[in-house]
């Protein structure tokens, strides 16, 4: 009983906040609604017994992605009125994409009746130990069988970090506009100033 109530609560909240994400006029509000949607989706995952995915949703999507969105939205001065102005112009394109999606939906429902795809079957070597939680199962696999690829993935992140620093880090000397004596000494009145004799009522054109 309590599960059903929780499910309907989370599901309604996901849909409602999803709708509000695209309906709200202020982009910052949109991102905040999106975060609410992520939290409720995480709740749905907990109900399914996939607590690891629930935590990933909160940590990765709320913690990193949504905050990044928020930063971008706040940094960029997005003019919603200007964005809406393109609505009529792009309307045919929107309709075309909607039609494609509709066709996919119809095709998908039709394919559902035709029976399952002949997929390969896993060997079962990685089958979970149902007595443990799935976090324990994933951890046991990552740190034993897949230790090599797991550690190598860590190296990839390290290389990404080195790369970002190499490409963007500048010594303080160059970032703070430092004094270039030669340039200052070589400056002469001819290049630095201009003589203009503007007539009355007209501006100066430089």
């Amino acid at each position: 009983m309590i599960q059903a109530i929780a499910f309907y609560l989370f599901a309604t909240m996901v849909i409602a906040s999803g709708v509000l994400t695209i309906m709200s006029r202020n982009p910052v509000h949109s991102v905040l609604w999106l975060i609410l949607a992520f939290f409720n989706a995480a709740g749905l995952m907990v109900l399914l017994g996939a607590e690891f995915i629930a935590m990933l949703l909160v940590v990765v999507y709320v913690g990193a992605v949504a905050v990044l969105f928020l930063f971008v939205v706040m940094m960029l001065d997005v003019d919603m009125a200007e964005l809406r102005a393109g609505f009529i112009k792009n309307f045919p394109l929107g309709i075309a994409i909607a039609l494609v999606l509709l066709a996919e939906l119809v095709l998908g429902i039709g394919a559902l009746g035709a029976g399952p795809l002949e997929l390969g079957t896993a060997s079962g070597a990685n089958a979970p130990n149902l007595a443990n939680s799935n976090i324990e199962n994933i951890g046991a696999l990552l740190y034993s069988k897949y230790i090599f690829v797991f550690e190598a993935a860590g190296l990839i992140l390290l290389v990404a970090m080195i790369g970002a620093i190499v490409l963007t880090h500048r010594d303080l000397k160059t970032t703070r506009g430092h004094q270039n004596i030669t340039k200052q000494v070589r400056r002469n009145p001819k290049e630095a100033t201009q003589m203009k004799q503007p007539t009355v009522g007209e501006g100066v054109e430089l």
Partner: protein, 487 residues
């Protein structure tokens, strides 16, 4: 599966990882002054990893005994051969870099560290026997390569090359991942042996799509036509030592990886991928040869030359036999020596102000101003064109021989015809250097390290180097046999 055995098998990778992390610390605390020290230590680490790889090649390791981590990675003779080639090329690229970057005051100790991590990625790539290991190795290599391409960050062309490489590389990785997910979905496993066993009965449509997407993604990494568009731009824009690196080590790794995927994972469905490889081989040879004709920039021309050479390498793969794989490795070795030599020679051409020269006008009459460099370039270009006494000719003979033995006579015939077109621009190089009025622009350039590498490469491809071919052939045969466990 014993973890101690597994870690014992990946000792070269562990050495590279450990030294990479230690050198990163030295780089972080030592600053730019530590660049030279870090470069030398990185080269030493690569040499050490290489010497630890030799036993696997000497013993002809293969089969289950060489598998580590539940069959995710294999330290067999094939990977050992490819690793030795990759390490040697990487050491060469470390040696030529300090002179080039030092002159632009852009040498940073992170350069050797990034090269080291890229080499680690390649090392993982060539020994991958699981789709996950393959992808991890590929990304480790690519990510370091994107940064290296834009290493001269104040040069807009270098930045453009890095960005272009990154965007297109990410797209190719996406295609590769899509293919891998399809392959996994339709076979139920990510291990090469498992995929091979699952496809023995036949290839379903979904699995065929997976195969095509995987090969398309890999074709991008080896810059085979029709996924070659990035190559000339990136090779031209990237700093020349980095271009040298791109044209040698990652190419070896990606070709070895493609060979393993094709012959091992999809080995039971050779007919399905052979037509794709044949098309890519012929298209690469022809596009590489025709595209190079109109080029005026030497780095761009050498990029087309590398596309052209990839075509010949793929002919060996298309044979899908032990001889074919052996010929492919033989050609790959020759190709690495030739491109290392020619890029270093281009790197050594500088004018009085110390700027690097890279167009045909600049090298007119080079034989009178820089006779040494011109002579080495002459030998390298004739070898690339496949003129008989030089090593490039024997490599081409090997490849075509393997194709004919596998019954691919039309492929060999078209390949030979197209290699004649390619000879045009290699000989144009020689003509411009020897038979045109000297402009005297290229007056200086070339440190001891540059000369050493150029002379070694020239000696290796010269008729003297022919004495080594027997030994090399024995090695490629052992390595290729490692790919065919059943034979």
């Amino acid at each position: 599966m014993d973890y101690a055995t597994s870690f014992g098998l990946i000792i070269p990778e562990l050495v590279l990882t450990g030294s990479g992390l230690v050198l990163l610390m030295i780089a972080a605390f030592g600053g730019e002054k530590a660049s030279r020290l870090v470069s030398i230590l990185a080269a030493v680490a690569l040499g050490a990893a290489g010497s630890l790889t030799i036993p696997a090649l000497a013993n002809g390791a293969g089969g289950d005994a060489s598998m580590a981590f539940y069959g995710q990675i294999s330290a067999d003779a094939f990977s050992a051969f490819a690793k030795l080639l990759v390490y040697a090329a990487a050491i060469g690229c470390l040696m030529i870099a300090p002179g080039f970057f030092g002159q632009r005051r852009a040498m940073k100790p992170e350069y050797p560290v990034l090269v080291l991590f890229a080499t680690l990625g390649m090392s993982i790539m060539v020994s991958a026997t699981d789709l996950m290991t393959l992808y991890i190795g590929l990304e480790l290599n690519s990510l370091a390569a994107y940064v290296l391409a834009s290493f001269l960050r104040n040069d807009s062309r270098s930045a453009e090359a890095g960005l272009k490489y990154f965007v297109l590389g990410a797209l190719a990785s996406g295609i590769l991942l899509y293919g891998m997910s399809l392959t996994y979905g339709f076979t139920g496993t990510t291990s090469f042996a498992g995929i091979r066993a699952a496809q023995e009965a036949g290839l379903s449509t979904g699995a065929l799509f997976g195969l095509i997407f995987v090969l398309a993604g890999l074709a991008f990494k080896i810059s085979a036509v029709p996924f070659h568009m990035w190559t000339p731009d990136v090779y031209q824009g990237a700093p020349t030592p980095v271009t040298t690196f791109f044209a040698t080590a990652p190419k070896v790794a990606a070709v070895a990886l493609t060979a393993r995927v094709a012959l091992d994972a999809f080995g039971s469905q050779a007919d399905a991928w052979r037509q794709i490889v044949i098309f890519a081989a012929l298209a690469s040879i022809i596009v590489g040869a025709l595209g190079a004709i109109g080029q005026n920039n030497l780095k761009r021309l050498l990029a087309y030359s590398s596309i052209n050479n990839v075509g010949f390498i793929l002919i060996g793969l298309a044979a899908a036999t032990v001889e074919g794989a052996s010929a492919m490795l033989f050609y790959l070795t020759t190709y690495v020596v030739m491109s290392l030599g020619s890029f270093v020679a281009v790197l050594m051409l500088r004018n009085g102000e110390g700027e690097n020269l890279e167009t045909f006008e600049d090298i007119a009459g080079l034989s009178s101003t820089r006779p040494g460099v011109a002579l080495c370039l002459l030998a390298l270009m004739f070898s690339l064109a496949g003129i008989p006494p030089l090593l490039g000719f024997w490599a081409k003979v090997e490849v075509f021989n393997a194709a004919i033995q596998a019954g691919l006579v039309p492929l060999a015939v078209i390949g030979i015809a197209a290699s004649v077109i390619g000879a045009f621009y290699y000989i144009k190089f020689v003509k411009v250097m020897y038979f045109e009025e000297p402009v005297g622009r290229a007056t200086k350039g070339g440190s001891a390290a540059h000369w050493a590498i150029l002379i070694i490469c020239t000696l290796l491809i010269s008729p003297l180097g022919f004495l080594l071919t027997r030994g090399l052939q024995a090695m490629t045969d052992t390595a290729a046999a490692g790919l065919f466990p059943g034979v």
